[in-house]
């Protein structure tokens, strides 16, 4: 999916905390050559959409999780009260919670099992070898655009 083709059920959180970074009024965390692999939307519990690449060019993607439904037997989505955890045989790849202020907190994010060098712990977000900590991203569609033909809704490449 890309910015023009988001699931109709997807409602972005107004505020997200990801690896000590704060995101406000943001649609998606990351895009790869214009494709958005991960969405975590607002709802009674967080709603997850996760697609993984089926080739190294990133031109084809496989919908692994559709609104908290796993389309692969090895991948489980556990929805508890306000919390969603995605587990694979390689370990937990996503652990998010919707807190009392209606914002989203990433406790864990790890897309490395899917060939994407994106992961985060509570201290920092790591993207393609770069470490991002204690930054603020506001009023943008995609926080980080990866790739040579990144479609971001903006042309700016550097911090403001």
């Amino acid at each position: 999916m890309n910015l023009d083709n988001l699931p109709p059920q997807y409602v972005p959180f107004q505020r997200v905390r990801l690896g000590s970074n704060v995101l406000e009024n943001v649609v998606a965390v990351v895009s790869i050559n214009g494709f958005i692999p991960l969405l975590v939307g607002d709802g009674e519990n967080p709603r997850v959409w996760l697609s993984i690449p089926t080739n190294r060019d990133g031109t084809e993607w496989y919908p692994l999780i559709k609104e908290n439904f796993s389309s692969h037997p090895d991948v489980s989505v556990e929805v508890a009260k306000k919390r969603v955890t995605v587990r694979t045989p390689q370990g937990t790849v996503l652990n998010v919670i919707k807190n009392t202020e209606n914002s989203l907190v990433f406790f864990k994010l790890d897309l490395r099992p899917f060939g994407l060098n994106v992961y985060a712990d509570e201290g920092a977000l790591h993207v393609m070898g770069n470490k991002l900590a204690k930054n603020e991203f506001k009023n943008i569609q995609v926080v980080i655009a990866i790739g040579s033909t990144a479609q971001t809704g903006s042309e700016t490449l550097t911090p403001s």
Partner: protein, 143 residues
């Protein structure tokens, strides 16, 4: 583009951050096959329960109920050291039930046939789109 292995800390962004990079490996383990693109009409066919299927389940269930009642009655008679008896209507009910069940099982309605046809189409899709095991060492992009 920004360089790799940078630490970006304490910055404020009101525009996206663009980073160089690419997909590092194809996650074959999780890719079962090419998904089938289901249309809304196809979904409505799958969702619809076949009337013949419903009639079959109802008839076979009712027949089994009569049969269990007859067996139960016979067991009680044997416990009481009496000869079990079977009413004529019970024999007719079981016989008609079995025949009707077979009829509902093998005579398909139009919607039933349509559903089976769609199931064949979907099955054919997954037969021809086996799990992928390509790309990693293809010319020019193998790493």
């Amino acid at each position: 583009m920004t360089d790799q292995n940078r630490t970006i800390e304490g910055e404020r962004f009101d525009k996206p951050l663009v980073l160089a990079g690419a997909i590092e490996a194809e996650p074959e383990r999780y890719i079962a096959e090419k998904p089938y693109e289901l249309t809304k009409y196809e979904f409505s066919i799958i969702r619809k329960r076949m009337s013949s299927e419903l009639l079959f389940v109802t008839t076979i269930g009712a027949t089994a109920g009569v049969l269990i009642a007859v067996v139960g009655k016979s067991i009680v008679a044997l416990i009481d050291k009496k000869i079990p008896t079977v009413e004529q209507w019970e024999i007719w009910a079981v016989g008609i039930g079995i025949l009707a069940s077979l009829a509902f099982k093998f005579i398909r309605s139009k919607e039933g046939r349509e559903r089976l046809q769609l199931e064949d189409v979907i099955d054919g899709h997954f037969q021809t789109n086996k799990p992928r095991r390509v790309h990693l060492t293809s010319a020019g992009n193998g790493k």
